[in-house]
Amino acid sequence: MSKNVVIIGAGAGGASVAAEAKRMDPSLSISLVEGGPYTSVAA
């Protein structure tokens, strides 16, 4: 079974984790949980 990765917050930090982890290991099962309506917002 693939490893479950849960990321809380899809700001600059969390979004970067998701993108890099998936790029390095496509078999990971990644959930990006975000309280707001956007991902990856630049300030």
Binding site: A12, A19, T39
Partner: protein, 399 residues
């Protein structure tokens, strides 16, 4: 975001680096408008606001920080805002576009306050900034605050120091009336920018170690004190390469780098985030304001014996028309002769000097080498003896 509010950036979608669809295209499950409300570490599950729960083997906290809002009467009134999330920026811009805004008060003269003063002036709004401290952008030397203050005055922004916010109520001629420690003032819009706090509720629940700064403790691979749990961005600390301490410097570029490092490690790689030297800058109308490393007080606190100087030079060759005055302050350690920090203010070239000096801090070189560093020289972009050379040579005499 301040540039979006100032309408320099027209559309909010330009502020989104990567859309949810793009994440989904790569096979990542994105849950929007869904908060993580609790974590059961024993079972390894995260409870979500939609009533579901998801299991994890590896957990990453990227919960960011929130604007600090003082508990005073009236902060909930229409026209009172803080600026942290994109929704805040959209609401502020809509408010300015659709409601009468003649007069604004900004509470707090830090980064947000300074950038917002420009955004509001660009929108033609009369703007006043208040701060508890006597000077705006207090991190910078008083001599540079003077230049910042002159720029604010030139742009018709009123600054009131040693002034705190007490309460806000509905106004008569203007939408709002604000009571301050120095009397009452009118405004149609009030922006509160008095700092941010890391979001550590879930971290506390998990029993993670929290650092002295109040942010989550991490190591160089972004791991927290609990196996399988990482933290990145504004919610966690970062290693400061000059003070050799773990600090809370909540910046976007740091969050991006920490995120990539954590992502690599989560995927089974090995990567470390080597820390920061504290490089930072903001633009205020025609001024570039920048700093890196430590100021004297921080240097003393970190066990150094600091000595400093300020020079006023020209960012371009003297023979060129139109002087570009540049103020540069260096802080060095008497014992080792090493650079500890720098600050710069000017209409041109302040940020690029600070970036160059950030490299010097990163590698830890001493003033005698900085005094003769090889920089690109051409009259319109810099003098043969750069202000960096001059400042380093002068400061060496004080060692």
């Amino acid at each position: 975001m301040p540039y979006y509010i100032g309408d320099v950036i027209k559309e909010e979608k330009r502020l989104i680096a990567r859309t949810p669809e793009k994440f989904r295209d790569t096979g990542i499950d994105v849950k929007l408008n869904t908060s993580a409300e609790g974590i059961d570490a024993d079972k390894g599950i995260v409870r979500l606001s939609d009533g579901t729960a998801i299991p994890y083997d590896t957990l990453i906290l990227g919960t960011g920080a929130s604007a600090f809002i003082p508990k005073i009467p009236g902060v909930e009134l229409e026209g009172v805002f803080s600026l942290k999330k994109l929704d805040d920026a959209i609401q502020i811009k809509n408010f300015i576009n659709n409601k009468e805004c003649r007069k604004a008060i900004i509470v707090g003269a830090g980064f947000i306050g300074m950038e917002m003063s420009e955004a509001l002036r660009v929108r033609g709004i009369e703007t006043q900034v208040i701060d508890l401290l006597p000077r705006p952008a207090i991190r910078w030397d008083p001599e540079f605050s003077k230049v910042i203050l002159e720029e604010l005055t030139r742009q018709n922004v009123i600054f009131s120091g040693e002034t705190g916010i007490v309460s806000i109520e509905k106004g008569m001629d203007f939408r709002l009336r604000m009571k301050s420690t120095r009397g009452e003032m009118d405004a149609d819009i009030i922006i509160i920018a008095i700092g941010i706090r890391p979001n550590t509720k879930l971290a506390h629940e998990l029993g993670l170690q929290i650092g002295k700064s109040g942010a989550i403790q991490v190591n160089f691979s972004q791991r927290t004190s609990k196996e399988g749990v990482y933290a990145v961005g504004d919610c966690c600390e970062v290693y400061h390469r000059v003070s050799h301490r773990w600090v809370h410097i909540p910046l976007g570029d740091v969050a991006n780098k920490q995120g990539r490092v954590a992502g690599r490690n989560v995927a089974g790689g090995t990567m470390i985030f080597p820390g920061v030297v504290g490089a930072q800058s903001f633009k205020l109308f025609s001024l570039e304001v920048a700093a890196t490393g430590l100021d004297e007080a921080e240097a003393l606190n970190s066990g150094y014996h600091p000595v400093s100087n300020i020079i006023w030079g020209n960012a371009i060759a003297r023979a060129m028309p139109g002087e570009k005055r540049l103020g540069l302050k260096l802080v060095a350690d008497r014992a080792s002769g090493k650079l500890l920090g720098a600050q710069a203010v000017g209409t041109l070239g302040a940020v690029n000097r600070i970036n160059a000096l950030s490299c010097a801090l990163w590698t830890g070189i001493a003033l005698d080498e900085i005094a003769y560093l090889d920089f690109a020289y051409a009259p319109p972009v810099g003098p043969a003896w750069d202000p960096i050379h001059i400042a380093a040579q002068e400061l060496m005499r004080k060692l």
